[in-house]
């Protein structure tokens, strides 16, 4: 087992109704970055949770420094030097940044019982300095944006002096700037001899950061390839079992004539005079850096947050005070955090899909479940939701499939104006492609789409027109034919 720091052999795991892993292999050398990729639900997170003691394996062996280990809880793994940044944020919102990072390892005064907050904050500041992150250790997590929370997670994992560090989609909520910071950190860690398992759906990152790529599909190990000598196309086809090609959008702006949504002078605690319009059949992209205010615009239009300003739908001014008003005016909203704002996790796929459209299935307030099931099955098949049945609880689906359930909800509702906030966050390339095609076909059917994304290639790939935001204002508008990454970035950093 020469030189390997970690070796996982024939790992299997079954959840009720789902065989999540079968005979999966994985090995890791000191100081390397191993990319672990696979479609949604391939079992990546599950494998890592087994490695870190959160789940117990059904079969197989784990060797760490040539010794067999079987961690039964996260602490044991941490003590061995194995640390993980989870796909889902795992922070205590009411505690401060420093308190979160050093939870369980607080600097203490006498009796090992009293806290030393001064030292705590100093340690955090030192850590941030070392990692070159700018964060105030005394801020409560609940006051931070998702992106900054993700940075806290990363800082926390790095504070452990781990020998093996697992990053489960660390960049899903980050923009380029922070991704760069992260990659610098990763390179620095590699030099320190730390091994990293890196999970991501962003193919372009793998080339930049990884040494080898392990591909999984449907709970099985497929292959491991050296990054340098491998074509990304090849990886993708291993992953999805077929070829996929990414195109570039070329659309004719004159095809859209009918304005369906007009937003004038939207203002609230963060937004400043946001005005734009959306036309029938158009995909309007929203680009910007973290905290640019795109989500705020979406939430305001949808009635989730309060605002002042004018919203005109189909030529008439409408009053939107709460989401139900927006939905009644034909707006659907897919939020950037599906677990918190999009899904009833304990409920079934079909119940989630139908929740917004229940009146369709109701006679004198009695619900007809058979029709719901039929339609839910139709949409989940159409979107290729990977689930044993529409009766499965959404909680048990993988991230990407959960996202598809939310999309299905609005398709079933037949909303004319669809707001997609980071629609492909945490979704694998195969599924991404499907979602792109879906958005396009929706636009073709005459739906109007407002699409927020932090991935510039995605914005460029899909948008007929692009609005760029910074600091709560719209800083520019680009037609697809004029747009490229550089021009977007210029507008995204433009100040007033």
């Amino acid at each position: 087992m020469s030189g390997k720091i970690l070796e996982m052999k024939n790992i299997s795991k079954t959840f009720p109704g789902v065989k999540a892993l079968s005979n999966v292999l994985l090995d890791l050398y000191p100081g390397e970055v191993l990319a672990l990729i696979g479609e949604n639900g391939a079992g990546k997170s599950t494998l890592m949770k087994i490695l870190t003691g959160i789940y117990q394996k059904d079969a197989g062996h784990i060797f760490y420094n040539n010794q067999e280990i079987a961690p039964t809880n996260p602490k044991e793994a941490q003590e061995l030097g194995i640390n993980i940044i989870h796909q889902e944020l795992n922070l205590m919102p009411d505690l401060t940044v420093a308190e979160n990072i050093f939870i369980g390892r607080e600097p203490r005064d006498f009796l090992n019982f009293f806290l030393n907050n001064k030292e705590l904050n100093q340690k955090a500041e030192a850590l941030f300095e070392r990692l070159n992150i700018k964060l105030n250790p005394r801020t409560k997590i609940s006051k931070l944006t998702v992106a900054k929370q993700q940075m806290v997670e990363i800082a926390k994992a790095l504070s452990f002096n781990a020998k093996v560090l697992i990053m489960d989609e660390p960049t899903a909520a980050l923009t380029d700037k922070e991704i760069n910071t992260l990659f610098n950190i990763i390179n620095w860690l590699k030099n320190e001899g730390v091994s990293i398992i890196y999970i991501s759906h962003r193919m372009e990152e793998l080339k930049r950061i990884s040494d080898r790529i392990t591909v999984m599909r449907d709970g099985e190990y497929i292959d491991t390839l050296p990054t340098e000598t491998t074509e990304m196309k090849q990886v993708v086809s291993l992953m999805v079992g077929r070829e996929i090609k990414i195109e570039q959008k070329t659309s004719n702006p004159d095809t859209f004539t009918e304005t369906i949504l007009e937003v004038n002078n939207l203002n609230n605690h963060y937004l400043k005079d946001v005005s734009f319009h959306l036309r029938k059949g158009e995909i309007l992209g929203f680009a910007g850096l973290v905290g640019a205010g795109r989500t705020e615009v979406a939430r305001a239009i949808f009635g989730a947050d309060s605002f002042t300003g004018e919203i005109i739908i189909n030529g008439s001014k409408v009053s939107i005070k709460q989401p139900v008003d927006a939905v009644n005016h034909g707006i659907g909203y897919l939020s950037e955090d599906r677990k918190r704002y999009g899904l009833m996790l304990d409920m079934t796929v079909k119940e989630n899909i139908a929740i917004s459209s229940l009146s369709k299935y109701t006679m004198a307030s009695f619900v007809k479940p058979s029709n719901i099931k039929k339609d839910a099955e139709e949409y989940s098949t159409k979107l290729k939701v990977k689930t044993p049945s529409v009766n499965q609880r959404v909680k048990l689906l993988s991230g990407g499939n959960q996202q598809k359930v939310v999309i299905a909800k609005w398709l079933l509702k037949n909303s004319d104006i669809l707001i997609f906030d980071e629609p492909t966050r945490g979704i694998d390339v195969g599924a991404k492609q499907e979602i792109y095609e879906l958005l396009e076909s929706l636009a073709k059917e005459g739906k109007s789409i407002m699409m927020i994304s932090s991935e510039l290639p995605e914005v460029l790939r899909l948008s007929d027109r692009i609005m760029v935001m910074n600091e709560g204002r719209i800083t520019g508008e680009l037609l697809s034919k004029d747009a490229d990454q550089k021009r977007i970035m210029e507008l995204a950093t433009k100040h007033y």
């Binding site: 009720p16 989401p323 939905v327 009644n328 918190r340 109701t362 307030s365």
Partner: protein, 331 residues
């Protein structure tokens, strides 16, 4: 191909699912059966028809309260006002019928509406004023307690002169076995509640709100409105319980009711409804309420000293919920 795969999976999963659910109900039911068997062996009087009737009758009030509060608990809320709220509805029934001389049926409707009003106010405090349910309904509990005394002048209102009032609960319209009406009404309320919860849009939203309130709101559901409706429905159940209580005692007793909420909530939880919302069933609540009253009755009929009765009931609640947890974990 993948479609075929999905559909086969669907079939098998459905079976698994429904059998687990069935198992759960069977297990809850099993505890009840075990208790019944135990007590019938311990005392011959336990299974006498008149004792069974007594058990059923003693389940009615707490049972109906528990049914209503099941809705609230499934939304992730809690209702502490049901005990004294019930008292207030029975006092109001007394006011309508005895003080104002309205016809009995008007009094009953008035009492139920009073319950609805209490529920509505709780619902309003919870959804519009955003006061946490525990505290909103705790305040409502105190307000209802005080108002019952104020309105009744702190003395019972007797229905002795109101012909037939007693029969609402204790008469029997059932042709066989002379089951008291109160019991029939209880079963009727189980059915009404069950239909509401599993067949109507109210039920869907009840579960949905309990499962993820914010996501429900962002799905375009008017959560405020539906929460008020749900609390109001629970209030109607409280009202029915109040009327039955009044009829059974042939009087409105203004100082009753405190503590009933905890018994009712215990019944709901024993019945498998989760206090964190999103999960629950009225059949479970029915079984939970029966477990509570069988237990109380059985211990009494065995002449277990009263202080030990309390201890035993406490332990049984712990055990019942513990096994329920185990079961859910195994799921």
């Amino acid at each position: 191909m993948s479609v075929t795969l999905i559909s086969t999976k669907t079939e098998s999963n459905k079976k698994i699912l429904s059998s687990t659910e069935a198992l759960q109900q069977i297990l809850a039911f099993a505890s009840l059966i075990i208790l019944i068997i135990f007590f019938s062996l311990a005392s011959e009087n336990f299974l006498s028809w008149s004792n069974i009737e007594g058990i059923l009758l003693s389940t009615t009030v707490i049972g109906i309260l528990a049914l209503g509060t099941t809705f609230v608990i499934i939304t992730g809320g809690i209702d502490l006002s049901i005990g004294t709220g019930m008292t207030l509805t029975s006092v109001m029934t007394g006011v309508f019928i005895v003080f104002l001389g309205l016809p009995v049926i008007m009094g009953i409707i008035g009492g139920i509406l009073m319950g609805a009003l209490i529920g509505f106010i709780s619902g309003f405090s919870v959804s519009v004023l955003k006061i946490p349910p525990f505290i909103a309904t705790l305040a409502m509990m105190m307000i209802a307690e005080g108002l019952s005394l104020v309105i009744s002048g702190a003395s019972p209102i007797y229905f002795s002169d109101v012909e037939g009032f007693n029969l609402i609960a204790l008469g029997s319209i059932s042709p066989v076995l002379s089951i008291p009406n109160a019991v029939l009404i209880f079963f009727l309320m189980v059915i009404i509640g069950w239909i509401l919860l599993s067949k109507t849009i109210v039920g869907r939203y009840t579960f949905s709100i309990g499962s993820n309130e914010e996501a429900t709101r962002l799905s375009g559901i008017n959560v405020k409105k539906w929460k008020m409706i749900i609390y109001t429905i629970a209030g109607c159940f409280t009202g029915v319980a109040g009327v039955i209580m009044a009829s059974r005692l042939n009087s409105a007793q203004p100082s009753l009711g405190m503590g009933y909420e905890l018994e009712a909530i215990a019944a709901v939880v024993i019945g498998g409804t989760s206090l964190s919302g999103g999960k629950g069933s009225l059949i479970g609540t029915l079984i939970g309420a029966l477990i509570m009253s069988v237990l109380t009755n059985g211990l009494r009929i065995m002449s277990i000293p009263q202080e030990w009765q309390t201890v035993v009931i406490g332990l049984v609640i712990l055990l019942a919920v513990y096994f329920d947890m185990l079961r859910k974990k195994g799921e």
